[in-house]
């Protein structure tokens, strides 16, 4: 059972393989308020050129959603955002047929009930396809949705079109939208879906960058304390075998607890006070304690 229930998986022969290349004039070069790494810029351009969705993965707070905004600004095209929730279905992105409104209108004789198109409301994906100009479509946090969700969109994202049986209408993209998909890696995505994407992983920020991030959230912090906390934080992240490595938000909580608890900065690295704020799993705490003991010897 390697790939169960893939509705339509035309694999290498998929239309995306032969999709037309975008005009070379669309080149993203970053914008003033968002400094993209050269590698990221290149990957964006590769995805645009190949007309493939760009999958952006990275820990929370690494600027995934901001990137979409920046691409839209940089290329001077509108941005359409589709935020995914755990209850979102693929169909929601295409269109919704408002039967109830139509029944009521029929009852009270309002509007032209015979015109079904009046009751078809396009979803975000539909909007992006129907737009007369090229747009950037952001599918935000795709991993929040149901397991099968990405598979349900394979056909539509490949062909950039879908059919509305109620009105016998075909909604096809006038210009293939630039599709950006973000994921926090809460769930693994299906292989068939991944094969079609261009992938970029935004790396975890380095120490200098991290200091700036923490400063934004907690402005008035003792300098030594912050330095020590960050040093200890990266040390903890390096402990091998952790099930869940602490991320930015945990560090921000931790420095606040440290500052509030009046812990002398020198003690931080030696004892890791309030370790529970950083590590959420029992096994991880045990590993950290062992690593501390090894260190002291």
């Amino acid at each position: 059972m390697s790939q169960p229930s893939q509705p339509s998986d035309p694999s290498p022969a998929s239309p995306a393989t032969s999709a037309p290349l975008s005009p070379a004039s669309l080149v993203y070069a970053g914008t003033g308020d968002y400094i993209a790494a050269p590698e990221l810029m290149q990957t964006v351009n590769v995805a645009v050129q190949l007309s493939r969705p760009l999958l952006i993965k990275g820990e929370p707070g690494t600027g995934k959603t901001m990137l979409a905004l920046s691409i839209a600004q940089g290329l001077q095209v509108p941005l359409i955002t589709w935020s995914i929730k755990s209850t979102t279905k693929a169909q929601d992105g295409l269109y919704v047929y408002d039967t109830v409104q139509r029944l009521y209108d029929g009852q009270f004789g309002e509007g032209d009930v015979a015109d079904i198109a009046r009751y078809i409301k396009l979803g975000k994906l539909g909007e992006a396809f129907a737009s007369p100009e090229r747009v950037v479509l952001l599918i935000d946090e795709i991993d929040k949705a149901d397991l099968e969700f990405p598979n349900d969109l394979l056909w539509e994202l490949d062909r950039m079109e879908f059919y509305i049986p109620e009105t016998h209408e075909n909604v096809a993209a006038v210009h293939r939208p630039i599709v950006l998909i973000t994921s926090n890696a809460e769930k693994e995505l299906p292989d068939a879906f991944l094969r079609r994407c261009v992938f970029h992983f935004i790396e975890f920020p380095g120490e200098a960058m991290m200091e700036r991030i923490v400063r934004v959230h907690v402005p008035d912090l003792d300098r030594t304390l912050l330095d020590m906390a960050i040093e200890a934080f990266y040390w903890v992240r390096e402990i091998s075998g952790l099930q869940k490595r602490p991320s930015t938000s945990e560090l921000i909580d931790w420095v606040q607890v440290l500052a509030g608890g009046g812990v002398p900065p020198k003690e931080i690295r030696r004892r890791l006070p309030f370790m529970g704020v950083l590590l959420k799993k029992d096994r991880d705490v045990e590993l950290a304690v062992k690593a501390l003991e090894r260190n002291r010897r």
Partner: protein, 402 residues
């Protein structure tokens, strides 16, 4: 050398498919990276590798393939060698070959070639003799020699080293260990554990068309909407896991199953408890089996109705006495008045559906340590190995009455 990269990637464990490889070819043909090995490094990675968990393997494969390369021109030649006869690509399975033929039917090779040569021309003109491309011109099998017949590499700093250096740094080593690979498949298997029922506590949220027509007709044509509850999964699950001792070596496997079950939001109810080696009078809600987390097994049986689906996870390998003897429990100071096997039978009788997932592979059950107790446990519970296939079979078993 270029096709070797593909096989090196696979050999290092990066799951690259022919679809992605073709996409890379298209990108290269469109001139997205050929003149720069740095860009080739990140381009190929963006197109071929879909998880940071494989970045390290990618780096290693890259190093092995291009470690000694001076210019990417050599890559260009290789790409076209490949395009000349794509089916000579060695090591493909029949299925892949068939798909490749299909795919290539759609890729217009002449068009690609035209594009490629256009870019090549643009590039050489733009760089006006400073590019390595000049060198390729003369030796390329496509005879783009008109631009610079000499075929000499004229200056231009080779930046190829940096990509190789980046690869050699192996910066992504850390991402290998902490990414769980395989939970998705467990999740998909667990997902089949589903019995839809509209008898649930949710609010009516679906339009019942038949009833609406009926009611409206009764109402002399005045619209009367009837709503019904949407169908939800009614399956409830009790997961009992063996921890400690011989189970330690399966910790990752069990943790994957645990994660998968935990993420399966579709169950109506999901309970976890732990035991060590065999179930006796007490179960534990904490995996460390501390006393304050103990719950009487009888209490659990009393509390949970028979329609909970019971999944036991363990190796079922223990000392004979632990299973069949009174006071057989392995812990000092604990006394079990009834042998473990009686408790197992009681669980089996209480729940309508139950299975045992064994962490030991099925083909070793007869000769592994504990083969005797495995056999006894198998007499009580239908047993499956804890693999994706085993879990799928077990889930099937849980859906039908024995």
């Amino acid at each position: 050398m270029f096709t070797r990269f593909f096989f090196l990637l696979r050999a290092y464990g990066v799951p690259v498919t022919v679809t992605e490889w073709l996409a890379l070819m298209r990108a290269l043909a469109a001139g997205l990276a050929l003149n720069d090995l740095d860009r080739f490094y990140s381009l190929a990675r963006a197109v071929l590798v879909k998880s940071e968990a494989f970045f390290d393997q990618y780096d290693q494969a890259f190093l092995a393939a291009f470690g000694g390369i001076e210019t990417p021109a050599e890559i260009a030649d290789e790409v076209w060698e490949w395009f000349k006869d794509p089916l000579a690509f060695p090591g493909l399975t029949e299925e892949e070959r068939r798909r490749l033929v299909e795919a290539l039917g759609e890729v217009d090779l002449d068009e690609l070639r035209r594009l490629f040569e256009e870019r090549l021309a643009e590039q050489t003109e733009a760089h006006h003799g400073g590019s390595r491309w000049v060198g390729t011109g003369g030796t390329s099998p496509f005879g783009h020699g008109g631009v610079h017949p000499g075929g000499i590499r004229v200056g231009g700093r080779s930046r190829s080293r940096t990509a190789v250096k980046v690869a050699a740094e192996r910066r992504y080593r850390g991402y290998r260990t902490d990414v769980e690979v395989g939970t998705r498949q467990f999740e998909l298997a667990l997902r089949r554990l589903r019995q839809l029922s509209s008898r649930n506590e949710s609010l009516p949220d679906e339009l019942d068309l038949d009833e609406t027509i009926e009611e409206t007709a009764d109402n002399a044509g005045r619209l009367s909407l009837v709503w019904r509850k949407s169908r939800k999964n009614a399956v409830k699950v009790l997961l009992l896991m063996d921890v400690g001792g011989s189970m330690d070596r399966y910790a990752t496997l069990c943790s994957n199953l645990f994660t998968a079950a935990n993420r399966s939001t579709h169950f109506k109810d999901l309970r976890f408890s732990y035991f060590h080696n065999c179930v006796y009078d007490w179960l534990y809600t904490d995996a460390r089996l501390v006393n304050r987390s103990a719950v009487a097994t009888n209490h659990v049986l009393h509390e949970l109705p028979a329609d909970y689906k019971l999944i036991l996870v363990g190796d079922a390998a223990m000392a004979h006495s632990e299973l069949v003897s009174r006071y057989g429990i392995i812990w000092w100071g604990e006394m079990n008045e009834e042998p473990g096997i009686e408790w197992l039978r009681r669980l089996r009788r209480h729940f309508d559906h139950s299975v045992w997932l064994n962490t030991i592979p099925a083909d070793e059950w007869d000769r592994a340590y504990g083969a005797g107790t495995i056999r006894l446990v198998r007499d009580v519970f239908p047993m499956y190995e804890l693999t994706v296939d085993g879990l799928t079979a077990a889930v099937k078993k849980l859906m039908v009455r024995y």
